[in-house]
């Protein structure tokens, strides 16, 4: 079913039209205020059981992209991640859509301590942070 000019029906133009795979999946997440990079959208949580099916949250972290790699590689990455992660059944970091400020070439979220920083923080504490000059900006 379509309108006379070929528009798919069910798509109103009251709101912006996006494509989930194209505009959300694998996009860079950027913190709005600081401009800091907070990972990629490794997967998207859909709320299909509600009255109006919507996108619920963005998922990021190895628990998000691991399963998307094919076959053996995917299982390997997921099991290594499970081993190293302190929690029992590690879930990807979920960024609820209420935090999404804007979507253009990247997904802009409001500032909060989010994104999967596990590895980064560990390296900062135990390695990089200990080298002299690590806290100095070069700008």
């Amino acid at each position: 079913m379509s309108t006379s000019d070929g528009r798919p029906t069910g798509v109103t133009h009251a709101g912006r039209v996006l494509h989930a795979g194209l505009h959300l999946l694998d996009r860079q997440i950027v913190e709005q205020g600081t401009g800091r990079m907070a990972g990629k959208v490794d997967d998207v949580e859909l709320a299909l059981d509600e009255d109006v099916p919507v996108v619920r949250a963005l998922l990021t972290g190895p628990a998000g992209w691991g399963p998307r790699l094919p076959g053996l590689l995917g299982r390997l990455v997921t099991s290594v991640h499970h081993r190293l992660h302190p929690a029992e059944d590690p879930q990807p970091v979920a960024i609820d859509m209420t935090h999404v400020v804007d979507i253009d070439s990247a997904v802009h979220v409001d500032d909060q301590d989010l994104g999967d920083q596990g590895l980064g923080e560990w390296l900062d504490q135990h390695f990089i942070g200990r080298i002299p000059g690590a806290g100095d900006a070069t700008e």
Binding site: L46, L48, H99, V100
Partner: protein, 115 residues
């Protein structure tokens, strides 16, 4: 459900005939307001491609160079749009309540013509 679980899933029509696979979801930003910034992204429908394992690379939004569009169209087979109301999901499959013959071809240029 995660998006990655839905993408690439096989789709059958009302007669249980194979239609294609899920290539993408169309979202419209007019859902219930959640949070301070914008309306939520309502799932309005699916985009299906006839052949498997074809990435649309943005063809469905009409943002490819001409040469690619032609090539992609040939590789993908039929590209259709199905409104969410006609979609029935369960754990492993996607079924439509319409027949393949009734499917509307997805027109990527709609965005350009209406903007």
């Amino acid at each position: 459900m995660r998006l990655s679980e839905l993408l690439g899933r096989e789709v059958r029509d009302a007669d249980n005939e194979y239609v294609g696979t899920v290539a993408d979801l169309v979202l419209v930003q007019d859902g219930p307001l959640r949070g301070p910034y914008a309306a939520s992204l309502r799932i309005s429908g699916l985009i299906l491609v006839e052949r498997r394992h074809v990435r649309l690379l943005g063809y469905e939004r009409d943002v490819l160079p001409v040469a690619f569009r032609w090539l992609l169209k040939r590789l993908a087979g039929r590209i259709s749009y199905v409104p969410w109301e006609a979609v029935d999901l369960d754990e492993a499959s996607v079924t439509l309540s319409v027949r393949t013959a009734d499917l509307v071809e997805h027109d990527p240029a709609y965005r350009r013509r209406t903007s």
